[in-house]
């Protein structure tokens, strides 16, 4: 009999790295195909009597967007107030507290509102999507759809994708307002600047570009959250354990993708 040699261990290690890399690339490929397929069904579906149902889209919009409003309001308000507190504290060093509005306006609209909302939706809806599709897969519900002549991408993925790309930017606009109001309230209480003056400054400072910067990012986050959730859900192997793993994976991957995309987008778009 042969003993396992250090060389063998090294080869196995390399093999593992290779396999992980290949499966990673494969997953990105699946994601790309999924986006393509979603567009295909959205446009071509009605011609083969497989239309994307409006009812399903509205249902998802409620789930992804409307039901998330309370938690998002709470978090974005906290972030807005936090930015005001930190901003005033930092600028006090220079005696320039009254200029805090600039920092708050840019940070909330360009950065924090889209980022926090992306992360909350990844944790709330991305994971739910992965769990739902994973459970449906192990219960043969996806097979049931196929044999019924219902395309699963058209039936399950497209409504979620559309709901996400509409609701995440909408939530971002909502988050911008709530964050700025919360920050304004703190500034008002701390520096005595009136809300009207605060918002007058905010409107002066922000351009359409700044708002679009945040909204474009939230649009990209919406696509990332959906695709990562679906790819992880569809890749579930085994039973309940597999669903749990896929759900966790989808949240971790989606948040990582959001943070990295955020950085890259900020780098590219802030010339």
């Amino acid at each position: 009999m042969t003993e396992p040699s250090p060389q063998n261990a090294f080869i196995k290690f390399c093999e593992r790295i290779g396999r992980t890399t290949v499966s990673g690339v494969e997953e990105i490929g699946h994601g790309g195909v999924l986006i393509g397929e979603s567009f295909y069904w959205l446009i071509y579906g009605p011609r083969v009597k497989q239309p994307v149902r409006l009812g399903a889209i509205f249902q998802q919009m409620m789930e992804v967007g409307i039901h998330a409003i309370p938690i998002i309001a709470l978090l974005v308000a906290s972030i807005g107030a936090m930015l005001a507190i930190q901003g005033i504290h930092t600028l006090r060093v220079f005696g320039a507290e009254s200029r805090v509005t600039i920092g708050i306006a840019f940070s909330v609209v360009r950065e924090f509102a889209p980022l926090i909302i992306g992360i909350v939706i990844a944790g709330r809806s991305g994971s739910a999507l992965a769990a739902r599709i994973g459970t449906m897969k192990i219960n043969q519900e996806i097979d049931a759809l196929k044999v019924m002549g219902v395309n699963p991408v058209r039936f399950l993925v497209v409504p979620s994708l559309i709901a996400m790309v509409i609701m995440v930017p909408m939530l971002t606009i909502f988050g911008d307002i709530v964050g700025l109001v919360a920050a304004g309230l703190y500034v008002n209480a701390n520096l005595g600047i009136s809300m009207a003056a605060f918002f007058h400054d905010v409107v002066d400072i922000l351009t359409i570009d700044d708002i679009m910067h945040g909204l474009t990012k939230s649009f990209l986050f919406a696509i990332l959250i959906t695709v990562i959730g679906v790819v992880n859900g569809a890749g579930v192997q085994g039973g309940a354990d597999g669903v749990g793993k896929a759900t966790t994976r989808s949240v971790v991957q989606a948040i990582s993708a959001i943070v990295m995309t955020d950085m890259i987008f900020a780098f590219v778009a802030t010339g």
């Binding site: 519900e141 002549g149 219902v150």
Partner: protein
């Protein structure tokens, strides 16, 4: 093989792989109009794989498959969807959508594939639920049903489009004998009342003998025999006999391979000193 004039499914030389492993090794079989064909075999015989291929859920390695006279390799996407509407499937675990009520589950194919108004669809749904003796249960969620009721609801969903072919995966698995027997009666009723061809995969001998017109016995990816209930019962083939009489297989064991499986280390030829 002599071709029967009224075949609804024709499979020729079907070879399939799962990864590198060959599962079906050249299966040829036909299912005739309005017959109940039972596919039997032990665990790992490939019967579930065969069923998944008959439902066109998997990609085969080679071979041809004609369903309702259409070669499934030649179908356009649209024709494929149309063919799907003529096939019903009752999955082993029911595969009911847990987010929908029983009624919505049964109605889904109608909702997706027809332009009927809501009232008509609801009436059709209730009629099918009556057929499977689940009348009045349409507002319950699948989680509120017993195992036998879930299977019957799955049958109702499978037959709601009045399919020409019905596939049933292990209909009696996990059920008590009385409920299992009632499901067998339901399968017979569906064939007689709705003139369907039914393919049933099962390893329950009693159930197979009760409902089958013909039985296909699968073993390790090969078809051992296809015949009527009596032909299978009277078969002189040793492996068929073993399956019917629950005799454990006693394969000759390769000691080197056995040792390799236990230790996970490749066994090399011993050199004699």
């Amino acid at each position: 093989m002599n071709k029967h004039p009224n075949t609804v499914i024709e499979v020729e030389n079907l070879v399939t792989h799962y990864g590198d492993r060959e599962i079906l090794k050249g299966v040829t079989l036909d299912v005739r109009d309005r017959e109940i064909m039972v596919i039997m075999g032990g665990s790992g015989s490939g019967k579930s794989t065969l069923l998944r291929h008959l439902m066109a859920l998997e990609t085969k390695t080679s071979g041809t498959m004609r369903i309702l006279g259409q070669n499934i390799d030649d179908l356009s996407q649209r024709d494929f969807f149309d063919l799907r509407k003529k096939i019903g499937v009752a999955f082993q675990g029911g595969a009911l959508f847990s987010s929908m009520t029983v009624g919505e589950n049964v109605m889904l194919p109608l909702y997706e594939h027809t332009d009927l108004d809501q009232m008509t669809m609801e009436i059709m749904t209730r009629m099918k639920l009556e057929v499977v003796e689940l009348g009045g249960f349409e507002d319950l969620k699948p989680s509120e049903l017993s195992g036998g009721m879930i299977k019957r609801a799955a049958f109702a969903r499978a037959i709601v489009m009045d399919p020409k072919i019905l596939f049933c995966d292990e209909p009696s698995a996990g059920l008590d004998p009385v409920v299992a027997s009632a499901l067998d009666d339901l399968i017979l009723l569906l064939r007689d009342a709705m003139q369907m061809s039914i393919v049933v995969v099962t390893h329950e001998l009693e159930s197979a003998f009760k409902i089958a017109d013909r039985i296909t016995v699968l073993d390790k990816g090969h078809i051992l025999m296809v015949g009527t209930v009596d032909e299978v019962k009277n078969s002189t083939n040793e492996r068929v006999y073993n399956l019917l009489n629950r005799v454990p297989e006693d394969d000759n064991m390769d000691m080197d391979k056995y040792l390799q499986r236990l230790t996970g280390v490749e066994v090399q030829e011993e050199t004699v000193l």
